[in-house]
Symmetry: C2
DNA sequence: TTATGAACATCTTGTTCATGG
DNA sequence: CCATGAACAAGATGTTCATAA
């Protein structure tokens, strides 16, 4: 089950990066896709990174398929005229394990970047 | 001339990363492709990254097209039975400018990774 | 064989279109 | 219109093939 590679050799993939953030947000409270997207965009804008909606949806769908998240469609009655898909953690153990994997890869990537800065600019 | 984007939003691309290292190596002495490849692989192996030969050649060809490197095919007489393509810096100003660009992107990426570690693991 | 390339295949991501409230 | 998806297109990289010496 945990045999999917998150490390693809060079740097971490955007998908894995987003999945990490999504898990952390969803751990805290209920969210739906566009909310999460807006939050992420706001957060990364200073770094010149603005994830696309389809990539965020794909990340959520991945986590659903992995059984880490569950989804419930609800009518935001009172508020709007729309139906949204709200996510919650389905398997805390898996979620934790996945985050641990991604952390290891982030650490590796950080080292690689530091090395590059040192090797080429010192 | 310098209007090609190196920052693609998320993390730096492998191509730009390799170009940076190639320039730094070639600044120091004459090299040819396979030498550079072996050097890079050795250097990154501890980080689980082993660039492919075609990607290194593509990086070299990019730098040629950009006019930053020049190439000279030579017969390594005395040594082997082969012809190699040896590179040298064609335009030091451009090389310096390119490296500066990449450095900025590396810095940005490092910040982004640090942020992710902080936002998700603290 | 080794070094250099090109061609081709795949994987990842961005852009556009479709549907239902 | 907004939220969710899917479909499609483009880009980046990995794998395989071709050629010369």
């Amino acid at each position: 089950m945990g045999e999917k590679r998150e490390s693809t050799g060079f740097l971490i993939k955007q998908r894995a990066f987003l999945k990490l953030y999504l898990l952390t947000s969803i751990e805290k409270e209920r969210w739906y896709g566009m909310q999460l997207l807006d939050e992420l965009r706001e957060s990364f804008k200073p770094f010149g990174f603005e994830p696309q909606h389809s990539e965020v949806y794909r990340a959520l769908h991945d986590l659903l398929e992995d059984g880490i998240l569950s989804r419930r469609k609800i009518k935001e009655d009172g508020s709007k005229y729309k139906e949204v898909a709200v996510y919650s953690i389905a398997n805390k153990e898996e979620a934790k394990a996945y985050k641990k994997l991604v952390k290891a890869d982030l650490d590796r990537c950080e080292q690689l970047l530091r090395k590059a800065l040192k090797d080429n600019f010192s």
